[in-house]
């Protein structure tokens, strides 16, 4: 190990120290002061974010080729930090009402984030798998975090069983890959697998199934709605964006970096997966009357849009077009992360009464009862639909640019039509908030200052990134360039 190997690892090191600090401090803090853990986590995460900035531009592979700190990983890590901070801010009020332990939540969350960091930087299949497991194991815990709630138990168990199943498939694919190529280096497997005939296809098939399982692509999505619905709502917000970001880091590493050269071979699979995922997710979301479940299905549809970006990458060999495809994935993951976690938190704010499970009825007449909250939710819904000037619009636009530029205009048309389909159920929330009268016994609203602050930040970010996305785009261009 070289000394500057560690320098490249500063963000991960700080994050590890932070996890251990939170874990230890939690043991000694009296109950009345537990709230201090939230500022500790947030400030720590901000430090991690700053450290990630410092390692941008170094583009070096460390630990004898097992770990790669390039600008692409930095982009994923910064997005991870943003999502982590929001998750840490959104959760406490909800947890406190249900007497769920804040310290454990923060620790588990940070472990999961660390897994995402490792995943984003892995340049070897072994590191990749380690990162993945480090990310999803805590995620299983988060899904079942509400120990006394049956739905949470069910969701956690389902998530765990199916997730382990997917991990096993992925691992099986990795072992086939190793058997065929004699290497676990991501940068080497592409050339070797390409020439290994049907067995190579089996390996690639296993890797695809395992990876898209994690991203919740149709037809590997069945775990999503139950896992998301059962988890405590703000945690669902994190689950719907965090592990998804990790899954896309994995997909980008594995497919764009590892198998990039044979892109045209797997383009068909990705394009069909994208089409199935966005359409399937949307159609099922249409039928939901529970907002939490609707958001869960719609997160599947968003996965489809992001996979469309990956398909665009596969379809072209032009470096600029490929760069654009990678940027579209990064931008979408970040933008989607912010808006979706915030949308879930609004659902959570309406669950101050723990018997409520986030039905549409809770939103009825919200505009009259809480105009600011309704406006925030309306902006988030418009952003998720993809109406300008919001980040959701620009994310979709980015995918459209990438697909059209790569010469797969039909996929762009599919994305556009699906966005119109999605409008139907996203706007239904606005219909309930603005155009219906409140229930006789309206859901009490949680207005804790932390949640409100985080919501305000998210909504401001959603609009600011929609109006002036240029700094982010410039940054993402450099990130994507480090891959190609």
């Amino acid at each position: 190990m070289e000394p500057n190997d560690l320098a490249a690892l500063r963000p991960e090191l700080i994050l590890t120290v932070l996890v251990l600090t939170v874990l230890t401090v939690d043991l000694f803090l009296p109950r009345a002061h537990k709230w201090l853990l939230t500022p500790l986590t947030v400030i720590g995460l901000i430090l991690v974010g700053l450290a990630s900035f410092f390692v941008s531009g170094i583009n070096q592979t460390v630990f004898a080729g097992f770990y790669r700190v390039d600008d692409l990983s930095v982009a994923f890590k910064l997005a991870t930090v943003v999502i982590g901070v929001l998750a840490a801010l959104f959760a406490p009020a909800y947890l406190a009402q249900r007497r769920l332990p804040l310290g454990e939540f923060n620790t588990i969350l940070l472990f999961s984030l660390l897994g995402m960091f490792v995943l984003a930087s892995s340049s070897d299949l072994i590191t990749l798998f380690l990162g993945l497991e480090l990310m999803v194991m805590p995620a299983y815990l988060l899904a079942g975090f509400h120990k006394t709630d049956r739905y949470s138990n069910e969701g956690g168990l389902k998530y765990f069983l199916l997730g382990s199943f997917a991990s096993a498939i992925l691992l099986f694919g990795i072992s086939w890959t190793y058997g065929l190529t004699g290497s676990t280096r991501i940068s080497e497997i592409g050339d070797l697998l390409g020439g290994s005939g049907p067995a190579g296809l089996v390996a690639i098939g296993m890797l695809t199934v395992g990876a898209t399982f994690k991203a919740a692509a149709v037809p590997f999505h069945f775990w999503t709605p139950d896992a998301y619905q059962g988890a405590p709502t703000p945690l669902t917000g994190f689950l719907s964006v965090g592990p998804k970001l990790g899954a896309f880091a994995l997909l980008v590493r594995l497919f764009a970096e590892g198998l990039g050269a044979s892109g045209p071979d797997w383009f068909g699979v990705m394009a069909i997966l994208a089409l199935l995922t966005m359409t399937g997710g949307n159609i099922v979301a249409l039928a939901q009357t529970n907002v939490k479940r609707m958001l869960a299905y719609s997160s599947i549809a968003h996965t489809g849009y992001i996979i469309a970006g990956l398909a665009a990458f596969a379809h072209t060999t032009d470096a600029t077009a490929r760069g654009q495809a990678i940027q579209s994935i990064l931008f979408y993951v970040l933008g989607y992360g912010v808006m979706n976690i915030a949308a879930f938190s609004v659902v959570g704010m309406l669950q101050r009464d723990p018997r409520r499970y986030g039905g549409l009825a809770a939103f009825a007449g919200l505009a009259g009862r809480a105009p600011a909250l309704a406006a925030a939710m309306a902006i988030l819904m418009l952003s998720l639909t993809g109406i300008p000037p919001t980040v959701g619009f620009f994310a979709k636009l980015y995918v459209l640019v990438a697909t059209v530029d790569a010469g797969v205009a039909w996929l762009a048309v599919a994305v556009a039509l699906n966005a119109a389909l999605a409008a139907f159920y996203y706007l239904r929330v606005i219909v309930y908030m603005y155009m219906r009268d409140p229930e006789a016994d309206p859901a009490p609203i949680d207005r804790s200052p932390l949640t409100t602050l985080a919501l305000a930040l998210s909504v401001a970010g959603v609009i600011a990134l929609g109006l002036f996305p240029d700094p982010i785009i410039t940054f993402l261009r450099e990130s994507a360039a480090s891959l190609l």
Binding site: L417, A420, A423, D470, I473
Partner: protein
């Protein structure tokens, strides 16, 4: 030309109004109404500055050009030609009228209502002045959401069905248009040019036939749904019937014109070959729309629905004029847009007047109103005649020019549309007779005491429209002069095109 960013002021003054509204307590309704009215009046004032547009000068004047998202070559480019100027002024006038008219009828959620109206103004005005395709798209979508709320919150009993239908229809078209915009910009960039969405740069680039055909279809869907052309019109009657009066005024007066403007500004100059090749189909659809709208209007039991279907017919004239590709047709189309905006806006307002008093719009329930409300009857009569196209009023000029243009294209098309001028007289006059002269129904007799003639506010809202409908009818010169330059440019581009060559459409 001064250095003042007039267009930005026109477009974004209403937004300042919205920001002010955010800080006003919601029960200060008087203050809210005044802020909204002043913001829209200020915007109207700035838009009048644009009348100083020089027809002989540069194509686009009052230009503003700022970098916005350089990574994708998106710019904040604004500019107006004669076509934009007349539509901008139409928009500001009708917006002020609707905001002023809403003074009494809107009593719930006043703050949200005026915020939505002002935001709607921003979106509509932006569409007419944007010269960057991306910016245009952003404004286009921006105009959608406020109308969605206006119909959905302040509308009639089936408002939610109507507003969702309106949004989904429009979104399908506009999202496909977004793909087409990207395809056009990317095709331009693929030829080695810098990535740009600038209208002036993208126009005149030789796009391949396949791209032109597909992009034209996508643009066509977006604009045809907005216009709306038969068979994409089914959202319109629902939206109109459920919308509050001011919403109907804006919807008929301005939002439909976004579609017509889109054809003139984007479809024809960007994709002239496809436009030439597809013209026969569009003309066919336009003739169907003209006939269909008129015939369906005859049997409508509801006043608003009748006017909504007559809009389908009138906007069919616009589409016909646009696609016959001659000076008379195009000028007639633009004039018809303006005239339809004023006339139909006024008619919806007048329906709103009676609806405020009786909460009913059934033609069968009315009758004998002439005796009870003579002034109202007189004004209603004026706009009925304007809608029919009586010479001396604005409706005549547009229809006459379009038919003249259609005649040069084909005598049969002209004959079919002339027929509709007669049908329109049938449905409008029959409606007028049943409402104002027939024996009052029992229902109306019971409502008799609550009937009062037009209030001062209603007069004030209508006054500008009366002036316009008579003024434009007697002296259409200024508008025709203003649009002759843009019309000629469009014709130069379209007539130089031979249509699609390698791509042969299936007909």
């Amino acid at each position: 030309m001064s250095d003042l960013p007039v267009l930005t002021l026109v477009v974004f003054t209403p937004l300042i109004g919205v920001l002010l509204l955010l800080f006003v307590p919601r029960d200060w309704t008087r203050a809210i109404r005044w802020i909204a009215l002043l913001a829209s009046l200020t915007s109207l004032g700035f838009s009048l500055v644009l009348l100083g547009y020089q027809p002989a000068g540069a194509e686009f004047q009052y230009r503003e050009d700022l970098s916005w998202i350089p990574a994708f070559g998106m710019r904040y480019t604004l500019g107006v030609d004669g076509l934009s100027v007349v539509l901008v002024v139409l928009t500001t006038v009708l917006s002020v009228v609707s905001i002023f008219y809403s003074w009494d009828p809107i009593r719930v959620r006043v703050k949200e209502y005026y915020a939505a109206m002002l935001l709607l103004m921003v979106g509509m005005l932006g569409v007419f002045v944007a010269l960057d395709l991306f910016l245009f798209y952003v404004f286009w979508e921006l105009s959608l959401i406020p109308m969605y709320l206006i119909i959905g919150i302040w509308g009639g009993p089936r408002r939610i069905y109507a507003t969702v239908k309106f949004v989904i229809y429009t979104l399908v078209g506009s999202l496909l248009m977004l793909v087409a915009i990207l395809a056009v910009a990317i095709a331009h960039a693929a030829a080695g040019n810098p990535f740009t969405f600038s209208y002036e740069t993208l126009r005149g680039f030789g796009y391949t036939d396949g791209l032109q055909a597909l992009a034209f279809v996508a643009f066509f869907l977006a604009f045809a749904i907005k216009v709306p052309m038969w068979p994409f019109h089914t959202w319109l009657p629902d939206a109109h019937v459920e919308a509050p009066t001011a919403g109907s005024i804006i919807l008929a007066g301005v939002l439909l014109k976004l579609g017509g403007y889109g054809f003139l500004r984007y479809s024809l100059p960007l994709l002239p070959d496809a436009a030439v090749s597809f013209a026969p189909i569009v003309i066919g659809l336009a003739v169907i729309a003209v006939l269909y709208g008129a015939m369906v209007s005859m049997v409508q039991p509801d006043l608003k629905k009748l006017i909504a279907y007559s809009s389908v017919s009138h906007m069919g004239f616009v589409m016909l004029g646009v696609f016959v590709f001659n000076t008379q047709g195009l000028q007639g189309a633009v004039f018809q847009m303006i005239s339809h905006g004023v006339t139909t806006g006024a008619l919806f307002l007048l329906v709103g007047v009676i609806y405020e008093r009786t909460h009913d719009r059934e033609i069968a329930h009315m009758g004998g109103l002439n005796a009870r409300l003579p002034r109202y009857a007189a004004i209603f009569g004026l706009f009925t005649f304007a809608s029919i196209g009586l010479p001396g009023l604005s409706g005549f000029i547009g229809e006459f020019l379009v038919v003249l243009g259609a005649f040069q294209y084909s005598g049969w098309v002209a004959a079919a549309t002339m027929l509709v001028v007669i049908i329109s007289a049938v449905y409008m006059l029959w409606m007028f007779q049943r409402v104002f002269f027939a024996v009052p129904s029992d229902w109306m007799r019971r409502a008799w005491p609550s009937l009062t003639d037009m209030s001062r506010n209603e007069w004030l809202s209508l006054a500008p429209l009366i002036v316009l409908v008579v003024g434009l009818g007697v002296y259409p010169g200024p508008v025709l002069d203003a649009i002759s330059g843009p019309v000629q440019r469009i014709l130069d581009i379209v007539n130089a095109s031979q249509g699609l060559t390698s791509f042969s459409p299936p007909w």
